[in-house]
Amino acid sequence: MSDRVVMLLAIFAPMLAGFVTLLLPARAALLRTAVGASGPLFAFVSLLGLLGDAEHSGSVGWGYIPDLGIEFFFRSDRLALFFALLVSGIGSLIVPYAHAYFRGDAAKIGRLLPMLGLFATAMLGVALSDSMLGLFVFWELTTISSFLLIGWERTNPGAVRSALQAASITGLGGLALLVGVTIFGVTGGVWRFSELGDASMPGWAMTAGVALIGVAAATKSAQFPLHGWLPGAMAAPTPVSAYLHSATMVKAGVFLLARVVVDLEGVELWPLLFVPLGALTMAYAAVQALRGATVKRVLAFSTVSQLGLFVCLYGLGGLHPSDPSHHTLEWPIGQILNHAAYKAPLFMLAGTMAIHAGVANIAQLRGLARRMPVVGWLFIVGLYAMAAGPGTFSFAAKEFFVVGAYQATEASHHAWLGWLAIVAVAIAAACNAALLVRIGRLVFGSVEEGSVEVKPGSGWMWWPAALLLLLQVVGGIAPGALEGALLSVETNPLEHLYSTFDLFGKPGLPLFVSLGALAAGVVLGLSPLLRKPGGEPCDHLFGSLHRLLELVAFAVVSTFQTGSIRRYLFLSIATLGAGLLIVMTRDERWLTVPEFTGLIDSHEPAIVIFAILAAIFVCVSALALPPCRLRIVRVLVLGAVGFGVTMLYLINRAPDLALTQIMFEIISVIMFLLVMRMLPERTRADQDRVDLPRAAFAGVIGVLVGWAVFHAGAVPDTEVRPTGSAERLGAWFLDHAHEGSALTGGRNGQGDNVVNVILVDFRGYDTMGEIAVLGIAMLAVLAMLGPRRLRPALRSEQVRVPGVQYGPQRTLVSSMLRVGMRVIVPLALIFAGYVFFKGHQSPGGGFIAGLVASVALIVYRMTEGRVALRSLIPLNPALLVAAGLAIALVTGAVPLVLDLIGGEALPFLTSGDDKLYLNRDHSEYFHLTSVMFFDLGVFIVVVGASVGMINRLEEELE
């Protein structure tokens, strides 16, 4: 199996296993646990197999949209494998522990396992992703699963708040990560971490990218002052706290830094950002841990402190000591392993105490060594490791951190950062030692009256913890046993590991700092200082920010989202107008009256007179519309505006537009006449007085837009087309209209009507969407009007007075109109056919033909009635629309399958054509083009939609 398949399976195995548990019998808790644990275990074992080749691992995976950097590539180098093994290894231990923690409660276990599986998959994805965007996706997935797990107690408002806080903060960090990697991708062209070292990016992009990745790491790894979510996350069940919020997820930020440190440590900002951030977090959180009231809070803050140490460590990696044989970044992975090997057991033991002895607060730990000897002793061992006591793996780890920081003080610049790190680690070490002393005194103290020995419920409650703690002891005393395994994953390995005894043989400032801090810690632990449990200022930071955000949001909403449509319209238009005004005032040319070339020199006088008349007609009708009160007058004036606009189209050489507009105008007038009859007339809202402020506003906007058009029109042609007409898009279409979209095929003889060729051939997709809109509008109209309700008397049309000519609506219909229409309607339909077939060569086409036919049919409907129309077109108009759309779609799809009949497959809506010669000497011919079928679809949709709508509206009045 190739590496990429192994990695893909390993990543998704935990999620799949977690989801499979949902299919198992609800009561089979043990079976569910076994299946749930098999996922991470499988990942662990299969990834171990890749460890041998870690040195030579490449980037393997699958592309998705490689041009945009969207791909899923994985890498199994030492860092990735270490982190993945940590995630899957601890995951395999956590699942059985969770089973014991919930005492086999099938419902709770059943709920937990899919979430844990999802989380493990997300973390494995973060670890193994080489694509930056892939890592981002998995990164966000960890946020989501963490949100679900923190909000475990769905009815507890505190837990829900904590879940929200964690999701908001780490989610914002995820956005920062996305922007950061996008900057790298766009400016440097790299979308994979493995290529980051080769990318050349402008300085600002490097700085911005580093800063944004720093934000992401700081949120995920709970750095000051964004750490508030991590103590809050302790609302989750203890197995979750042990897994997500101490061993794995919170290390994702640190992992991200480890991923990029080698490539980015040359950036000036790197050490300046991360060393102070980490040092501050390390010292501050250690002090807060000492003041914590509950066991989990203490452990959470000590985790924050340790995360600060990691960030500080990777920050120091950016400082290069003057002596190149020294490196400040020694043992970067061992540090992470060390922390996982004592913090996860501490959390597990805390959970055990809480479940079996009811211990939640520090004060309740009194006498634990007698009540639960195994758990109590293991807890103390864990705390001893946390305090970096001699003889533990942790001691060596802390020692190397101090050594690295000490070497950083010899760096060529920013040497003070090394000292800062040493001071911070000393404070943190002292606090941890003090914690050990205080808790130790409680645990071994006298038992309270009445409390009895409690036995841990199951071995699973303590032995995973003991196993991990064993690592600490072996690593501290006889590291040779672990050397092979550890050095194989270390990215910057020393030659061999050091035990405590080796380190005691190397006296110097680092050893002095470690031991001095320990001694100071013991004194601090015995002293009355920092004893009073209390909260910390950042506890309320998020709450306050959240309330502030809410206040701002409410203010914004109550200003803008008033529910008043008029207000929305006003705000939108005013914003647009203000934008236009700003643009105009910034350029002096807008403020001058443009030199105007005049009307006369470019057009024949007759046309000019016609144009002026048409413009006056449009303006007068438009201005007359607002004061109109009678609805019939309104509709007619509105129609007048439309006819004026039609004239303007005609004058400006757009015959297709003029034809379309005039047909739509006729249908619109009829439609409005019908709708207006159903609307109330002369209501209070309708007959209000002249609204001067709004009139003024509308006038200002009109003047602004008019002024802009005026100026745009005055720009000379030379400025519009500086390099000649061939550069213009319109000219391109004029040149290529005869070829159509099948440009490569060398066909010619497409349409002469360039507008129609653009519509049905070049921009066929647009037209396709357009007829779909028309059809949807018609369906919506039918839906809004509901099923038709015809009055029985009218249906049978029985009530008639002899000798009187009745229309379909029992209204009088002019006989002249009726008789006239009997002649005109067939002629109009024939004309529609003519327009349809000539459309590709002269003004016309499917749209216009459809409209001509629609107008004829609508008039026929008005004079002859519903039944007559029904007998003429026996189809449901909605069916017509569907049929038209289907015809257009099928026509478009034919080129796709041309290869089936021996041709070459062409893109959707490619058209072809030929000349159909009508005589021998080839002087008479007819253009036969495949777009005609597309146009037929358009025609049918237009007829179906417009006739269907008007017909339905008329029915409403019958």
Binding site: H603, R634, L638, N652, A685, V705, L734, D752, V754
Partner: protein
């Protein structure tokens, strides 16, 4: 010609905005219709009103390849506007019937009483 159209466009926009900002929903759809005309004319003008023939190229136009086609009006604005007219009509029909239904359901044609999605509150 551009100046003439500029005046017409400005007046059309002013009239349509004034209508749409009034209280009556009936005026809203009237304004919407005018708004469509104004925008279509704006597109037409922004494409430069070339003096020339309509964009109908005859058979003799084969000889035209490679030569500047200044004799023809720009075909793109009409193509865009044609689409806009059809969509505009669809929207107009939809909103007209929507207004009819709304007035029927809510029992008023006053936009200021339509600022709530709950029927009870509006009536």
């Amino acid at each position: 010609m551009e100046a003439l159209l500029a005046v017409a466009i400005g007046i059309l926009y002013a009239a349509s905005l004034y209508l749409m900002l009034r209280r009556s929903v009936v005026k809203l759809i009237l304004g919407l219709s005018l708004f469509g005309h104004a925008s279509n004319l704006l597109i037409l003008t922004s494409g430069k009103l070339l003096k020339g023939r309509p964009p109908l190229i005859g058979d003799d136009a084969h000889a035209l390849f490679g030569e500047p086609a200044v004799d023809y009006a720009d075909p793109i604005p009409p193509a865009l506007i044609l689409t806009a007219i059809v969509i505009g009509f669809a929207i107009l029909a939809f909103s007209a019937v929507l207004v009819k239904r709304t007035v029927q359901e809510v029992g008023t044609d006053d936009m200021d009483q339509m600022n709530n999605t709950d029927l009870e509150a509006a009536s």
